[in-house]
């Protein structure tokens, strides 16, 4: 995708070559949260969101919007059941291997 290649070139100068600039991340963050970026781009965007509070906050707002919009979407019952059981085990017994 041409736009992505363009953005990937616009890195922050004089820093780790794998650190994307905020302006590039702003363009990529929604693709990243939709699981639509390739592995390398996901790694770079994720790394940036980890390190940059402003971009991280923005990503969190988009995640919350997604969570609200998806509220009525069906989820696989068996997965929910397994995760609930996992959670209940945690709540009752604590972390595996801890006293």
């Amino acid at each position: 995708m041409r736009a992505l290649r363009y953005l990937r070139r616009r890195r922050r100068p004089h820093t780790d070559s794998a650190v994307l600039a905020c302006e590039a991340v702003v363009e990529l963050v929604q693709l990243y949260l939709d699981g639509a970026t390739d592995d390398l781009t996901s790694e770079e965007v994720g790394h940036h969101l980890d390190m940059c509070r402003r971009c991280g906050l923005q990503a969190d707002v988009y995640l919350q919007i997604k969570a609200t919009l998806a509220a009525n979407r069906p989820v696989p019952d068996d997965a929910v059941e397994r995760l609930r059981r996992f959670g209940e085990q945690l709540a009752v017994h604590g972390l595996p291997g801890s006293p």
Binding site: T68, L83, L90
Partner: protein, 186 residues
């Protein structure tokens, strides 16, 4: 162990049950959308729950969903990193923010709850039809970009630009309502 959350009498285990378990479905929906893969999504939510359990004693009980979604995002970064070990720069980098901020540090700038949902719904209703339709297909019905493009008979690029613009408008509405800090505005 006694905890910092709203109910000092709660054990960490009880707090986990109160704040985390009710959000499992929400977390799974978001994880499915981020990973596009059922097994990865389930693993990601499991990771998130483990991290939440470890951090629950520092969680003050405000906006559990926002707190959990931030943890989910951090867990997702670490999973990507594990899949691509050749890119590993700092093994602990993925947890740095989570460890150094109080767990609700990001959540405090975003009030979540019924009001948040109402503003999102209202903003959605105000969108032009062509934008709203894309949000409905992708975010509400769970179609991929390609699936939405086929359903609407438009190119994938059009779906992406409409969807992203639509969500940006929803976020602007949240900022205008004071529910989201303008600090997250660009």
């Amino acid at each position: 162990m006694a905890a910092a959350h709203d109910h000092p009498a709660l054990t960490d285990e009880a707090a986990f049950e109160l704040y985390v378990l009710p959000e499992v479905e929400v977390l799974l929906r978001v994880a499915l959308s981020m990973t596009r893969n059922a097994a990865d999504a389930e693993d990601l939510v499991q990771d998130t729950m483990l991290r939440a359990f470890r951090g629950i004693s520092r969680f003050d009980g405000r906006y559990p969903r926002a707190w959990l979604l931030t943890i989910l995002r951090n867990a997702h970064v670490n999973r990507n990193r594990r899949r691509r070990p050749e890119l590993l720069r700092d093994a602990d980098a993925g947890t740095s923010l989570l460890e150094t901020q109080t767990p609700d540090d990001s959540a405090e700038e975003v009030a979540v709850g019924q009001t948040f949902d109402h503003v999102v719904e209202d903003a959605l209703a105000r969108l032009p039809d062509r934008y709203r339709r894309v949000v409905e297909l992708v975010d509400m019905e769970g179609l991929s970009y390609r699936g939405a493009a086929e359903s609407l008979g438009v190119p994938v690029g059009t779906v992406m630009s409409r969807l992203h613009r639509a969500r940006r408008r929803i976020r602007d509405q949240l900022i205008a309502s004071g529910l989201v800090s303008a600090g997250s505005r660009r």
